[in-house]
Symmetry: D2
Subunit: 351 residues, 4 copies
Amino acid sequence: MADKIRIGVLGASGYTGADLVRLAVRHPNMEIVALTANSHAGKPMRQVFRHLAHVPLPDLVKIEDADWGSVDAVFCGLPHGTTQAITKKIFETYPQVKIIDMSADFRLRDPATYKEWYGLDHVATDIQPEAVYGLTEHYRADIAKARLIACPGCYPTAVLLALLPLAGAGQIDFTDLVIDAKSGVSGAGRSLKENVLFCEAGEGMSPYAVGKHRHMAEIEQEIGKVGGIQDLRVNFTPHLIPMSRGELCTSYVKLVGGATAADLRNTLVEAYADEPFVTVADEGVLPQTQMVRGSNYVVVNVVPDRIPGRAIVISTLDNLVKGSAGQAIQNFNVAYGLTETTGIEQLPLFP
Amino acid sequence: MADKIRIGVLGASGYTGADLVRLAVRHPNMEIVALTANSHAGKPMRQVFRHLAHVPLPDLVKIEDADWGSVDAVFCGLPHGTTQAITKKIFETYPQVKIIDMSADFRLRDPATYKEWYGLDHVATDIQPEAVYGLTEHYRADIAKARLIACPGCYPTAVLLALLPLAGAGQIDFTDLVIDAKSGVSGAGRSLKENVLFCEAGEGMSPYAVGKHRHMAEIEQEIGKVGGIQDLRVNFTPHLIPMSRGELCTSYVKLVGGATAADLRNTLVEAYADEPFVTVADEGVLPQTQMVRGSNYVVVNVVPDRIPGRAIVISTLDNLVKGSAGQAIQNFNVAYGLTETTGIEQLPLFP
Amino acid sequence: MADKIRIGVLGASGYTGADLVRLAVRHPNMEIVALTANSHAGKPMRQVFRHLAHVPLPDLVKIEDADWGSVDAVFCGLPHGTTQAITKKIFETYPQVKIIDMSADFRLRDPATYKEWYGLDHVATDIQPEAVYGLTEHYRADIAKARLIACPGCYPTAVLLALLPLAGAGQIDFTDLVIDAKSGVSGAGRSLKENVLFCEAGEGMSPYAVGKHRHMAEIEQEIGKVGGIQDLRVNFTPHLIPMSRGELCTSYVKLVGGATAADLRNTLVEAYADEPFVTVADEGVLPQTQMVRGSNYVVVNVVPDRIPGRAIVISTLDNLVKGSAGQAIQNFNVAYGLTETTGIEQLPLFP
Amino acid sequence: MADKIRIGVLGASGYTGADLVRLAVRHPNMEIVALTANSHAGKPMRQVFRHLAHVPLPDLVKIEDADWGSVDAVFCGLPHGTTQAITKKIFETYPQVKIIDMSADFRLRDPATYKEWYGLDHVATDIQPEAVYGLTEHYRADIAKARLIACPGCYPTAVLLALLPLAGAGQIDFTDLVIDAKSGVSGAGRSLKENVLFCEAGEGMSPYAVGKHRHMAEIEQEIGKVGGIQDLRVNFTPHLIPMSRGELCTSYVKLVGGATAADLRNTLVEAYADEPFVTVADEGVLPQTQMVRGSNYVVVNVVPDRIPGRAIVISTLDNLVKGSAGQAIQNFNVAYGLTETTGIEQLPLFP
């Protein structure tokens, strides 16, 4: 077995960080040497996440107290806006470190777009250009050579895996995309907000951030790139669903060039024939979050619309795994030349 | 107080029937004199629905054993396909009885359409013409005179209350309607199916009946009627959400005639200004099922789409109340000249 | 109809306050004239609780800005420790006001016990003696004459309704009571705490406050009173269950004097024969929270234990209704000589 | 790596069978060669459990169509009453096969007790004596030599891991055990029963099988064995909780010999110091199902009771993993001399 690669996790007290730790503990090529969480610094991880009490882990420390010299790879689960500065700082002293960023800070290539959506000036525009968009199935070769990987948001992962091949094949109208998205509550993170209390989010559902969810920018960037469209605008409407994990995107597309729903499905089957984590469901089988919970798998499928000339593309994933920590590890595996499925091949947990 | 109106409930062992009983018990002008449920005939209602054990109720009997002569009004919560024959039979002997049908059997005016969607020949085509579509807010005058009221499906109620005024105002394109619908599990009824087991439907969500849900026919019928379009086709895509009650429809519409989202919202505000059960949410407030649970209220709103020239119309209701039993009682109140809100004015239960 | 009684609600931004408002709006003898909520003062209630947006309500004000002179009765849903001072102050100026307190501040008759459990000196020891413990079924006569009613905690209501008659009948051993209690998450209130986030409390369950839950003091006080035992100690072990509403207490009792489980059940049947809100389930039927959700009903039953000489007493209620706001209104009805069931006779909401 | 051991799974269409398959697919020393499920025979597994569609699996066959000669080990997830005959038959032809039984058929050593609880004559009394009770931590040496391993029920696993060491240390009164148990709905299996529909089991909770749950017999057998008590009777009262996975048992014990809660905790700490899957929670930390979901871990702890001379012992596990499929694999590992944690070392899934 290869030597262990020493990893650090920035922001280990969030759900994303915790899920990364959960998987990293059992990854045969990882050794966790640093966990940071400013507000919980000094505490053992077992106090912050009781489900991790079964194994020994480093105590949480402040970012500035971590010894980045002892770390080969950094996973970053910080809130957006905080990652750029720390990334820059780590690279200055330890340019050999690889950073796999699960935040939004390096996903958008254009700093102006970043500012438009996140309301902040990008403070690391010098390193932004080397960031690779970490949608593994579509940027694998670049990821293999990168030292800064900007993992996609959970929604964009679900949407783009479904739509990019169709866009590339010229089978759908780029300007008429309606994406109705549904997410479990863990997508909102662990911070204390009224709308994610059990009594508020349970036994009910609601749209949120309609017309302004930041993941829209990534979707527009990536689909626009395929289509060579500068200012693509899509409809992306997220809903909060009373479940912890899981995301399902129902995309309503207009077919072009005489394509049928079956053609679209074939495009996906071909595109993902050799992919270990993307499953095109059997014909007529509708993807559901239960097919992927707790796993790095994505399920996609295409079904005909009742309106002629349209189709419905459905995709689902676990927002904390393939939508975040799992895909980050997948990218880590690619970046270090490991078997891509290492440490993330668990089958979904059902029921 | 007016004399009590004697009611019978056909199909009292389903969720719809039970919710009707729940409300009828406390309705000041109703007296429950017959409850039928063929498979549970002979049992006390308290054994079939434990939450109704607090009050005395007639035992369940077979349909053929009920004395329809002692009944003024019949609420019908039978599965589709079974209502036509029994309705016909009751009318033959007791033409003065009013029937408020919560099943699908009389909703579609065209028997051919009925056959197309339900796979059955309509066996009461002679009385079908007198059936009034029981969307109270839009057919009130007809309901007041009817003896056969075909209450809309739960989804059509949510969709049509949101879209009919907009269609009527000529503000939306009838041919480009994408309706992404989400429902709690009670919409599937109480029958034993694997997909509605707690472990299957919980902590997960799934689309279902995509492209073939029967409620689509009603939506097309009613919107088509406003627009004078014979063969209107809409996209209607339902999803099963892990909650018991509640339905939310996100309708993506193309604006015509220069209308804006704000114009659409105004249309709804005006249309429902005097309606006791339809609330247009404050500007920018997104409807959520938590706003209506357990009540006869509907909440609607319109928000701008990021794509110019489009808008998003959101509507929500409790599928068992306004989507079924509550609306049936509302129609009963109208039909008998009672105050329309009688017995169904409870505020939503939250949390 | 009697004139409306003008009410004010202290602490209207909590779940208890909101549920009181929900019921009060439809109570035929109540008129809501004041709603207070210090942190939300100035806001319309519809912004704080969206499910109440269907009806007009007074805006929220600070306690000191409410005009208590315009109020006949005050419902208090403040956190413990804050109620005593305000109660005292209101009584000083408006001695004719009736105060129905849903907080814990006046439940314990002994100020020393209050201090022991709540860690605070009682600041209204002069009016404490006139507080009546508001367990309606057992203190009805006193409540009818009281101007200060200390409604029991949700758990004590469930436990005492089940055990007081048995204790009174001398059928159970007071010193060997094990009460395993389970509550939905709304019992924890609306404050932002990590353990009640959807992702923390969902799909899982946990004991909490074991050996130190404050409701234990009330249970010991009331059962001890019946038995004439000064320092009674009971086991009371609460668990947090992934549901919003509902509470179920499983009490394990040792039988004395040759009593059997059937004897105990008979005692309950007799004790509650004329009670409108207490249902003794049919023999062998196990109480479940689904039988009472959203209602003021309580269901109790007794079943034999496999260990000879022991029995299991089970009781269930909705913590926000019979466990709080509903019982408060029941007490209000008693105190004002109204029909006791007025405004709280809704049947349970199921499913 | 050792050669693969070829396994067959009897009853692969239940939750227990499916969870075994989920884990077996990724077990480095297992090769799945046969899956049986009589009612679904002929179907691909992916149609019966959609979450297993990501990997190739043998199609489901009838028991009589499986080639037991090609199998080294059989996992049995059949309903009780059906396992004895098939076990006997397999052993007759293939005596070298090891059978790891997850059903209840060989757990009770006394055929009379089996008949008393299961209402059936034991039809394999000749092989019953060689069955080892598969509570790994307490029967490890026997399991290593066994060819027939009767894995404990989910509840007994949780209860016995907590109580056996305390019973063995003589610290608790065997005759005064009250065990209040709570389980997620998956414990009821995948069969279609009304009480486990989403709408029936969700947002509510209920006791069930009070005084007659069959797992009681195992608990009495094993604790009785330690104490040398022939006819031990314990109180065991299960409750159905609205979550899919997870089980928590709150055991109320009377201390003997001057033992304290701290002494009991120390006993557990010592007993499980070297156990890979049993975690004694930090002092004062209350076990919750969230600590073990989806994993083979058990968490136990002891806290003082408010009643002097008593203590509360709490234990939790995932009923489908450590309570069934996980423990079965743990036993398989022991039986084949593999590292005991192989294939079941995933950390819990949270949130």
